[in-house]
Amino acid sequence: MNVFFAELIKLKRSLSWAVVILLPIILVASGSIMTFIDGRGLEDGWNTLWMRSMVFYGLFPLAVGIAILASLIWRAEHRGSNWNALMAGPTSSLRIVLAKAAVIAVLAVIMQGIALATVLVLGKVVFGLPGWLPPQYLAVSVVVVIACIPVAVLQSWLSMQMRSFAAPIAVAFLGAGFSAFLLVVGLDAAIFVSPYAAVSRATQLGTATFADTGDITLAVLAMIAVASLLLSAVLAAANTLVLERSDART
C-alpha cells in the first residue's frame, strides 16, 4: 500500500486532474448534444440518453483518456533519473507495476463517476427528463469501472516501455478502433483478448448496439467482469516479468 500512497503524492498538481474532469464531461456531452441540436427527441428517455452518450464515449474516448492518464503518470518517471532512482530502491517490480496500474485505474474510476454525473445533469437539466436514470445503469457503471482496469494495466505497461507520450495513446486509439470493428462483426469473445474491447463492450450493455442484445443479464455482466479481471492479471504478470528482466535504458 505504501507504494500506492507514494503514487498518490505524485498526483499533486498533476495535469491528469484536468483530463479526469474535462474529458468525460466534454465527450459524454458531445455524444448526446447532437440530439439537442437537430431537435430529435429522446424517444426512450433515459435509455436513449445513456445510449447516445455512453456508447460513443466507450467506443474510443474512454480508452484514449486512460492512455493519456498513463502517459502523464509515466512522463514524470521518464524525466531525469527518476526511473533509475525508483528501480535502484527496495520496491519489488510487482509492487511498482501494481501501484502504477492502480493509480491509473483509480483516476479512471473517478472519470467514470464524472461521466455518470454528466449523464444525470444532461438528463435533468438539459433535457428535463422525468424520474432518474434506471438503476441497472449503475450496475453497468460498476462493470465499466472493472473493465477500465485491464486498459489501465496495458496502458501503464505501454507507457513504461515506450518512454514516449504520444505513441501509447496512438496504440489505444488504434486498439479501440480495431476492437470496435470486432464487436460490430459480432465477435464478442474479443473481450477476452483485447482490454479495449472489454471496456467498449461494457459501455454498450443494455443499449442493443453493436454486439449487445439489449438485455442486461447477470451472465453478461459476470462475463465482462471475469474477462477484465483475467486480462488484468495476465497483463500485470507479463509486465512484471518483463520489467524484472529488462535493463535500465538511460
Partner: protein
C-alpha cells in the same frame, strides 16, 4: 579489512563493444572510494551494474557480502543509497513532497527524513518546487533521498557535476562527514581535483579497464617522478647523458625520466662525476596527483 564491494571480471558488452571489461573492483568497508576516469570510460555503467540496474554480460558483483543479481537486488538495495547520472526528483512537487515519496517507499519515520534533509542543509528550501531548484539544490536533494534510508553504502555518480567551487567543496565536506559516520562512499568523477582530497582509495578506469586501484600513496609510487639534477656544466652533462637516458634541459636543470631505483640514480651521478662535472643537486620532481592521473590515462591509450 573487509570489502563492501568486490567484483570478479565484471564485463558489460553492447554488441561487440565492451564498455566495461574484466573489472576487479575492491572497495574496503568505511572508505571513500574515488572512481576516476575520463567521460565514457565506463564509470556509470559499472555503478549501474553494482545496483543491478543493468546486468553484466559476464563476471559478477558482490555487494555487502552477497552476490548482487536480480534475485537479491531488492533486499540489498534497501541498504544502498545511490545517485546515478542526473539527480532524481519530481519537478512538479516540492522538496518536502519528494522526501515524503521516499519515506513512503522505504517505510521510514520522520526522524530519518529530517536527518537526511539536515545533513545536506536543505531544511529551509523544502517548500519550494524542485523545478525552481538550482542544480546544486537538486544534487543535495538527490543525496538526501539517497541518505534517508541510512545506507551502509552510498554510490554517487558525478555528484559534483555542474556545481560551482563552493558547491563542490560542500559535497566534499559532506562525503568526509559521512565516511566519518561509518558510511562507505563510492564517488565517481572525471576530474581528479574534485575527489583528490576526499578519497582514501582510488580506482582509475580507462576505456572500460581498471588501470590503477589502490591508495593515494600507492598511486604516487606507481608512477616514478622525474629526477632533477643541478650541476656545474648542464650543457656538457646533457650531452654525456643523452645517449643512455632521455635527458632534457630546463633552465639550467637536467630532467631525467624513468630513473627508478637508487642504484640508477647513483649511476647517473657517477657518470657525471666521471666526466668531471660537479653535481650539487639531485632531487625528485614534485608530483601532483593530476599529472600521475594524466600519465596513467594517457598510457592507457586515452
Amino acid at each position: 579489512m573487509s570489502l563492501i564491494v568486490a567484483t570478479e571480471k565484471l564485463t558489460k558488452k553492447y554488441g561487440d563493444r565492451a564498455v566495461v571489461q574484466d573489472l576487479d573492483l575492491r572497495i574496503p568497508e568505511g572508505c571513500v572510494y574515488g572512481f576516476l576516469g575520463p567521460n565514457g570510460s565506463g564509470k556509470s555503467t559499472t555503478m549501474k551494474m553494482l545496483l543491478s540496474l543493468i546486468r553484466p554480460t559476464s563476471g559478477e558483483a558482490h555487494v555487502l557480502g552477497r552476490p548482487m543479481d536480480r534475485a537479491t537486488r531488492r533486499e540489498l538495495l534497501g541498504q544502498i543509497g545511490s545517485l546515478i547520472e542526473s539527480p532524481p526528483g519530481y519537478a512538479h512537487l516540492t522538496g518536502a513532497e519528494n522526501m515524503r515519496i521516499v519515506q513512503r517507499l522505504l517505510d521510514l519515520d520522520d526522524q530519518h527524513i529530517d536527518f537526511a534533509v539536515r545533513t545536506v542543509r536543505m531544511q529551509d528550501q523544502m517548500n519550494k518546487r524542485v523545478r525552481e531548484f538550482s542544480l546544486g539544490m537538486k544534487q543535495r536533494l538527490g543525496i538526501a533521498m539517497a541518505l534517508a534510508r541510512q545506507p551502509k553504502l552510498l554510490i554517487l555518480d558525478e555528484p559534483t557535476n555542474g556545481l560551482d567551487p563552493a558547491g563542490i567543496e560542500e559535497i566534499r565536506e559532506l562525503l568526509r562527514r559521512l565516511a566519518d559516520g561509518g558510511v562507505t562512499v563510492m564517488v565517481s568523477s572525471h576530474l581528479l581535483g574534485e575527489i583528490d582530497k576526499t578519497a582514501t582509495v582510488l580506482g582509475i578506469l580507462s576505456q572500460g579497464r581498471m588501470i590503477f586501484q589502490g591508495s593515494r600513496d600507492e598511486l604516487f609510487s606507481a608512477a616514478t617522478p622525474d629526477l632533477l639534477i643541478d650541476c656545474s656544466d648542464p650543457h656538457r652533462a646533457q650531452g654525456a647523458l643523452a645517449r643512455a637516458h632521455g635527458c632534457q634541459l630546463e633552465n639550467s636543470t637536467l630532467r631525467l625520466t624513468g630513473i627508478e631505483d637508487d642504484r640508477a640514480v647513483a649511476g647517473v651521478v657517477a657518470a657525471l662525476v666521471g666526466e668531471s662535472i660537479g653535481v650539487h643537486g639531485v632531487r625528485r620532481d614534485e608530483q601532483t596527483l593530476e599529472s600521475v592521473f594524466m600519465g596513467l590515462t594517457a598510457g592507457g591509450g586515452l
